[in-house]
Subunit: 131 residues, 2 copies
DNA sequence: TCTACTATCGATAACGAATCTCATTACCGA
DNA sequence: TCGGTAATGAGATTCGTTATCGATAGTAGA
């Protein structure tokens, strides 16, 4: 029996309110700053649940897990600004097929893949040039 | 001034003696089991150096950093068996170009990318079927 | 609506990977 | 051989994450 609690909903909303990837710790701080008495463990549990249910994407960076709300049910990858965290969801049929084909060519089955692109978004590039 | 120590060489050899990716902790255990009195911090330092110098590749998995000896100086990706850790180095010019093009299309510059394929190698698939 | 059941919460302890500290060691040029 | 100093290593520390367990509060059924 799955229950709907305001805590879970708060995490979902806080996640949706961020453009890019955020850490569980950061999300917890934001919620506490906003006056919510939510616990850190609850934020971790909620994020893990959301990730399993496909409502959030997660990736590992610099030793911590980052999460982001994403369009559910659809396989996609991310183009992430390494400066401001701005994230763009990208489709990559070509890469999907390449991954499958490459795996098969080496005798591998049940292939999954990790594909993320990091760069400097237009705004951050201009800001860097201006300084 | 860079110095050559037996510890650094021991890490290099231990890394080369493994087919797939191994964690710093595992490598340290192996070295200690083999009778080497090398310290954990030294293993971490040596691995970080090797990664910087291009003699080792690293990737994040399950909350820890994994390392592997690799052909230096050449950009490539990995096809990794999620069961036995067997790793195959793969070239992916198509993916390189796709990543650059996609980043550029969204206004991103200085694009780098993370591309790894996980699967079940032929031997592990057969073993799984046999059981 | 009321009640019982139990999923969920949350403070905190525990855990583990990675890093830092600093006294000691030993590499290497002179 | 000698001295400066890079490198080492045991242990402490940091930090993100997970486990524990009593308290809390959704939810189904009476």
């Amino acid at each position: 029996m799955k229950r709907n609690t305001w805590q879970r909903e708060a995490v979902r909303e806080a996640l949706g309110g961020n453009d890019g990837f955020v850490s569980a710790q950061t999300l917890h701080s934001e919620l506490r700053d906003a006056g919510s008495p939510i616990g850190l463990a609850t934020v971790y549990r909620a994020l893990a649940d959301l990730a399993v249910e496909g409502e959030a994407d997660s990736l590992q960076a610099e030793g911590e897990s980052l999460y982001r709300a994403c369009t559910p049910g659809q396989h996609h990858h991310h183009l992430i600004c390494r400066n401001c965290g701005l994230t763009v969801e990208i489709e990559a049929d070509a890469v999907e097929q390449w991954a499958q084909a490459t795996a098969a060519a080496h005798g591998f089955s049940q292939a999954t893949h990790v594909v993320d692109v990091f760069g400097l978004c237009a705004a951050c590039r201009l800001a860097a040039q201006g300084s």
